[in-house]
């Protein structure tokens, strides 16, 4: 058996990407210096990425990237950055034996599996956490900003960023971006793919900066609540646009005022929108936004979901009691139930915030939605499968695929009654050929099949380890990690975490988040023997 894939070329480029990862690592260094904390975790990571990167680069000095090598490069890049991302967490918890004392030895991230889970959850913009104490006293400011930064880097895509800055990726770049970017197919905004990648990252950076400024402005105006400050403004700016959901606050966005929640809402809307579309809208053709069928579908889904949730909350759709081990207590339930029931603004705000947060797969919480009643929770669980738009930073199945599935279904119903009718599936003015429709149907089915299979694997593993999970927890954990959403339900809810899973389950969920971020197929392709041999 001979291997027909030039894996050396792929790994060499992964090495180049790793080398460049030292640049963003300077942000936590700066933060650590500002707060007078140790910079050792980050300096060590920088040294490590540089040397590993340089070492990998030597595998093939002049890599020739063909389509197959491209797949391998994208897939391994995501694993490599997740592995590198664990280093700061591990150094914080363990120090460097014989040289540097540990900073926070009690950190739950001392366990390398937990550290990998947290890192992959970050880069894949999932936002599921295994941190014990989420604050900036049990962890350093630097570590917590690194955790936010992993999401920001993963959001628009590490490979897209690489295409933007590495000239050697200009030829195969479109295919690389296609493998990484969410949704079927990418849209070139300019003849040069590197230019397109730069435009995307530029827009992404600009919107992020705008959000940070607005959040900090609210703080300066005294409208953001006691927990907001410059640090939190930056931290949340870094995780909104990538639809990440990490927060250095244990209570997520609940820690801030209603004004902050209202400001974050439009940014979540943007984060779930196709960036190419945002670019068109801001560069002179705003009409394109509303003419886009996916954007309309996206707004429609969010509107319907918000209306349903608002109705449920307004009429008092909350849990009737507090189950054992819940992330909320009776007083909290009582307080929010009486505050929301019958009041339109808070009901609408929390409904809209949560609908957006789940549909775009951000995973922020403006409230502990685990205390909502069964119908509202069910609506959110369903929302985890919708996902953002193609070309956004969101996970899940994506609006465009659901639209195509719905249209294919309608065509099927019509052609059953009129067998001779020829009805191509149309999106806006374009038609999608049957190959494209088949691809989308296959992906959607595969996604749902993997969701059920993964839930079964998690249930089996929990039973093996003797840990008792409810079916809702298992199912929502599978949907949430595969869809890169973040929070699930009950003990895995927005104020809880994934800590009680055994290491084996956590590793499996790392795989799910990895697959989910790359939309399954690139990872699956690299696992088939045909890919390697023929």
């Amino acid at each position: 058996m001979s291997i027909r894939v030039d894996y050396r070329a792929s790994l060499s480029l992964v090495g180049t990407v790793l080398k460049y990862l030292t640049v963003p690592l300077s942000l936590p260094v700066v933060v650590a210096l500002i707060y007078g904390e140790s910079t050792v975790p980050f300096l060590l990571t920088m040294a490590l990425t540089l040397s590993v990167g340089a070492g990998l680069e030597r595998l093939a000095p002049d890599p020739d990237l063909r389509p197959r090598e491209g797949f391998l490069m994208v897939v391994t890049t995501w694993l490599a950055v997740a592995l590198v991302g664990t280093v700061p967490y591990l150094v914080e918890a363990h120090g460097i034996p014989l040289f540097v004392e540990p900073i926070h030895p009690d950190s739950t991230l001392a366990n390398p599996v937990n550290a990998l889970f947290e890192s992959m959850s970050g880069f894949s913009t999932t936002g599921a956490t295994v941190l014990g104490a989420i604050n900036v006293t049990d962890h350093t400011h630097g570590i917590m900003i690194w955790r936010q930064l992993t999401q920001w880097l993963g959001g628009m895509g590490i490979v897209v960023l690489a295409v933007a800055i590495l000239p050697e990726l200009s030829v195969g770049g479109a295919q690389l971006m296609d493998a990484e970017a969410p949704g079927p197919g990418i849209e070139k905004l300019s003849p040069k793919i590197a230019e397109t990648a730069r435009v995307l990252w530029g827009a992404y950076l600009a919107i992020t900066v705008l959000e940070i400024l607005l959040l900090y402005g609210l703080d300066l105006a005294g409208m953001a609540g006691p927990n907001m400050n410059a640090y939190n403004a930056v931290a949340h700016g870094l995780t909104t646009m990538p639809t990440g959901g990490f927060s250095p606050q244990a209570r997520s966005i609940e820690a801030f005022s209603a004004a902050v929640q209202w400001v974050i809402i439009p940014f979540m809307v943007l984060a779930g929108t196709n960036f190419a579309l945002i670019w068109h809208a801001f560069s002179g053709s705003p009409g394109k936004l509303w003419r886009d069928i996916e954007f309309r579908g996206y707004i429609g889904v969010v509107a319907v979901m918000t209306a349903i949730l608002t109705g449920l909350l307004f009429t008092g759709g909350f849990a009737t009691g507090v189950p054992e081990g819940a992330t909320y207590d009776a007083a909290y339930l009582q307080q929010y139930a009486s505050m929301l029931t019958g009041s339109i603004e808070p009901s609408l705000r929390h409904a809209l915030f949560q609908a957006l947060s789940i549909v775009t797969t951000t995973g922020y919480a403006s409230i502990d939605f685990d205390m909502w009643g069964a119908p509202a929770k069910y609506a959110l669980l369903f929302g985890m499968f919708i996902g953002g738009s193609a070309g956004s930073t969101g996970g899940g199945i994506k609006i465009i695929r659901w639209i195509v599935v719905a249209k294919a279904l309608r065509r099927e119903l019509f052609t059953t009654a009129h067998p001779e009718a020829v009805r191509p599936v149309r999106l806006g003015g374009r038609t999608i050929d049957d190959r494209g429709v088949r691809g989308i149907l296959t992906f959607t089915l595969l996604y749902i099949a993997i969701f059920f299979l993964a839930a079964f694997v998690l249930a089996l593993d929990a039973a093996r380890a003797g840990i008792d999970f409810t079916v809702l927890e298992i199912v929502s954990a599978s949907a949430s990690t595969l869809g890169n959403v973040g929070p699930a339900f009950y003990r895995l809810g927005p104020m809880g975490g994934y800590r009680m899973f055994p290491d084996s389950s956590e590793l499996f969920m790392v795989l799910l988040m990895w697959a989910g971020r790359l939309e399954i197929l690139p990872l699956l392709v690299c696992l088939t023997p045909e890919y390697w041999r023929r």
Binding site: H418, E420, A421, V422, R423, P424, R426, T431
Partner: protein, 444 residues
């Protein structure tokens, strides 16, 4: 006038035949056998050669030609012929084109490709079908003066309430003129006390609204189009008919047998239901209730199939059938055996090209009764015999069988009555026998 026609296909030949009576016609054709045929069959000069080559055009004496008509079967060839002609002379160029893409490009500038006038065969045929479909009782319909004036031909059925009335009794419309009555192949200009009989064919000119309400009165059972139209055959004509109907908000189904073509049509026609099937399958026609359709348009690629499709659809219950008929000789025969209206694309193209061969600047022309009469739109020159006198006086100086059907002045419709005074610059739509066309053009 000296006219060079490039391409002696059926269209080229029929245009040549039309023009050869009054003009000097040179035909350029590549096929030597065809050149010989044309030389014997018509009073024209046929030259053998490639119309896109400058030496061939010079051989045809392009410098002295007044008009070049490129009518080969190939769009690109026709375009190159016109461009070449324009490059070496300032002759008027007409190109016959199939692709509407080129038509759109040409419309942008009006002189693109060095073409002065572009005739899109399929589009013209489709437009004429849609006009007929839109006026249920009409056999033929044409618009003038930017759509403000309409000419239509109607058959008076035995059931028609008009049968037995005099023209004066029937003329209850604001702006409608009875231009001609055709009875037993005999064409006559009606006067107020002419009695309309069943089986007559009427030619009327008027505002679109009047023509439509007249259509309702001629055949009350066939009031304006309200049901579905079924188009059998996804030819280019079928495609354009479907597209134009969709523009007008009419429900249409398009039947096409070839899977590839059906797919392509379905992609291009979002509002039309395209079905991949043979339109002559009785079981299908019944299962899909084609009989409930108000009109069936047969636009398949052969006349025989169109006849079959039309007759089958009538058989399953369709009210009216319109068929595309390539061979002009078959039109009468098909209409006799049951096709309600036959549309001959070549005749439509010939009409369109004829309009440029008329001296005196007729703006628009429609042929009536296979060319025995014409309806002309003419912009009246200030020194015309019509100007400055009431029509009842000025009409005396025109040939007998001329009817002034409508006048538009500055975009407004004027009903021509005996006392109406025509001004210079008015557009006059008039009906006349073909033999007087030249004379009238020079008088106005």
């Amino acid at each position: 006038m000296r006219v060079i026609i490039v391409g002696a296909g059926q269209v080229g030949e029929s245009i040549a035949a039309d023009l050869s009576d009054a003009h000097d016609v040179v035909i350029v054709e590549q096929d030597p056998d065809r050149v010989e045929e044309i030389n014997f069959a018509h009073d024209v000069l046929a030259v053998e050669g490639d119309g896109t080559s400058i030496s061939t055009l010079e051989e045809a004496d392009i410098e002295t030609a007044d008009m070049v008509i490129a009518s080969t079967d190939d769009d690109e060839t026709n375009i190159v012929v016109c461009s070449t002609a324009k490059a070496v002379s300032d002759t008027f160029t007409i190109a016959r084109i199939k692709s509407t893409e080129y038509l759109q490009t040409w419309r942008r500038s009006g002189s693109a490709f060095g073409i002065d006038f572009m005739v899109c065969t399929y589009l013209l045929a489709a437009e004429s079908i849609v006009r007929v479909v839109g006026l249920p009782a009409a056999r033929d319909a044409d618009t003038f003066a930017d759509g403000r004036v309409e000419m239509a031909e109607f058959d008076v059925g035995t059931e028609s309430p008009l049968a037995g009335q005099t023209v004066a009794e029937a003329d209850i419309y604001d702006s409608l003129t009875f231009a001609a009555v055709v009875r037993d192949e005999e064409m006559q200009i009606p006067s107020g006390d002419t009695v309309i009989c069943a089986e007559d064919r009427l030619v009327v000119i008027g505002s679109p609204r009047s023509v439509r309400s007249f259509a309702d009165d001629v055949a009350p059972d066939e009031a304006a189009l309200s049901g579905e139209v079924v188009i059998i055959g996804g030819s280019e004509i079928g495609y354009h008919v479907a597209r134009l109907l969709a523009d007008r908000g009419v429900d249409a189904r398009l039947l096409e047998q070839d899977p590839e073509r059906a797919r392509q049509l379905a992609e291009e026609l979002p509002d039309t239901i395209v079905m991949e099937t043979d339109g002559t399958d009785i079981e299908f026609l019944e299962r899909e209730h084609i009989g409930d359709a108000e009109v069936v348009v047969a636009a398949l690629d052969s006349d025989e199939k169109n006849l079959l499709a039309s007759l089958l659809s009538k058989r399953v219950g369709t009210d009216r059938s319109v068929a595309v008929i390539d061979q002009s000789e078959y039109v009468d025969l098909f209409e006799a055996v049951g096709v309600d209206v036959g549309v001959n694309p070549r005749e439509v193209v010939a009409e369109e090209i004829t309009r440029f061969t008329h001296a005196g600047g007729a703006e628009n022309v429609a042929l009536v009764e296979s060319g025995r009469a014409e309806v002309l739109e003419i912009e009246v020159s200030p020194d015309s015999t019509l100007v400055g006198r009431p029509i009842r006086e000025s009409i005396q100086s025109l040939p007998d069988d001329v009817v002034i059907g409508a006048i538009t002045r500055g975009g407004k419709y004027i009903v021509p009555r005996g006392g109406t005074v025509v001004e210079g610059g008015d557009h006059v739509v008039l009906f006349t026998a073909s033999e007087h066309v030249e004379e009238i053009s020079s008088l106005l």
